[in-house]
């Protein structure tokens, strides 16, 4: 099974993770995203409902995507994060840079 699903619908791009967002999946996902993040894309969302672990490589991908979208005047949303991942992003002071909603939201 693929580790993620990437869908583009007009100006929105949605990445649904089927497992962890960690170093081993980043090169493939990064290449796929690079192809999709053309001018005209206004929002990228990452659905992490099935994600237990997010490491610094995964955080790096989220920040890089956020930087790209900021240049395009678009935005990135991180959806359905677990409490562990939410605390990690808060501890790293990244919730002010990324729009994050937890599973309970």
């Amino acid at each position: 099974m693929a580790t993620y699903t990437l869908e583009k619908d007009g100006s929105n791009c949605r990445v649904t993770m089927h497992g962890d967002l960690v170093a081993s999946v980043i090169p493939d996902l990064q290449a796929a995203l690079k192809q999709q993040l053309q001018p005209g894309v206004e929002e990228v969302s990452f659905d992490l409902a099935a994600t237990v672990m997010l490491d610094s490589s995964g955080i790096g991908l989220l920040i890089a995507t956020s930087n790209t979208m900021a240049r395009q005047k678009g935005r990135v949303r991180i959806l359905n994060v677990s409490q562990d991942i939410l605390r990690l992003l808060q501890s790293m002071r990244l919730t002010s840079r990324l729009t994050v909603s937890s599973c309970e939201a």
Binding site: V22, A23, S24, M53, D55, G60, I63, R87, L88, L94
Partner: protein
């Protein structure tokens, strides 16, 4: 990957591939659950991943003939994690003093390890790190650890 897992000790010999890090972390999850420490799994696995990713990408530089070792031992109060690679090491003293740029897409691994572990200790060369987790207090995961040579 060769694994030896007595009840309170886990040791993995890991080839220099990121997929092997994932496999080792599955072993770690099973070890934590088997020892009644499921609540601490996220913190210990996260730090293990950060250190193992560094051994593969930086220490062993993706060289297939090199390996890393991960040892996890559980005491009454402390959980001790040790990770070593076959690389030349790095200047951990300088790295520990460098704050991560919030806009950068890299450079957070060491900061995360220091954030989640209660104590972090490198060997002089910088190709082995030992980390301690106080397994009596999950809340301590969010305090900064101390660095010792």
């Amino acid at each position: 990957m060769k694994t030896h897992a007595p009840k309170h000790f886990l040791r993995c010999l890991i080839p220099s591939r990121l997929e092997a890090v994932d496999a080792a972390c599955l072993e770690l999850r099973a070890f934590m659950t088997a020892n009644g420490l499921a609540a601490d799994t996220f913190a210990v696995e996260l730090v293990s991943r950060e250190c193992l990713n560094n051994t593969v990408l930086h220490g062993n530089q993706n060289q297939a003939d090199k390996t890393a070792t991960m040892s996890l031992s559980l005491g009454r109060r402390w959980l001790r994690l040790q990770i070593a690679d076959q690389g030349v090491g790095f200047n951990w003293r300088q790295a520990c003093r460098t704050a991560a740029d919030p806009t950068a897409s890299t450079g957070r691994g060491l900061a995360i390890s220091m954030l989640y572990a209660d104590r972090v200790e490198f060997n002089q060369r910088g190709n082995q790190v030992t980390l301690w987790f106080d397994n009596s207090s999950t809340a301590k995961r969010h305090q900064h650890g101390n660095i010792h040579a």
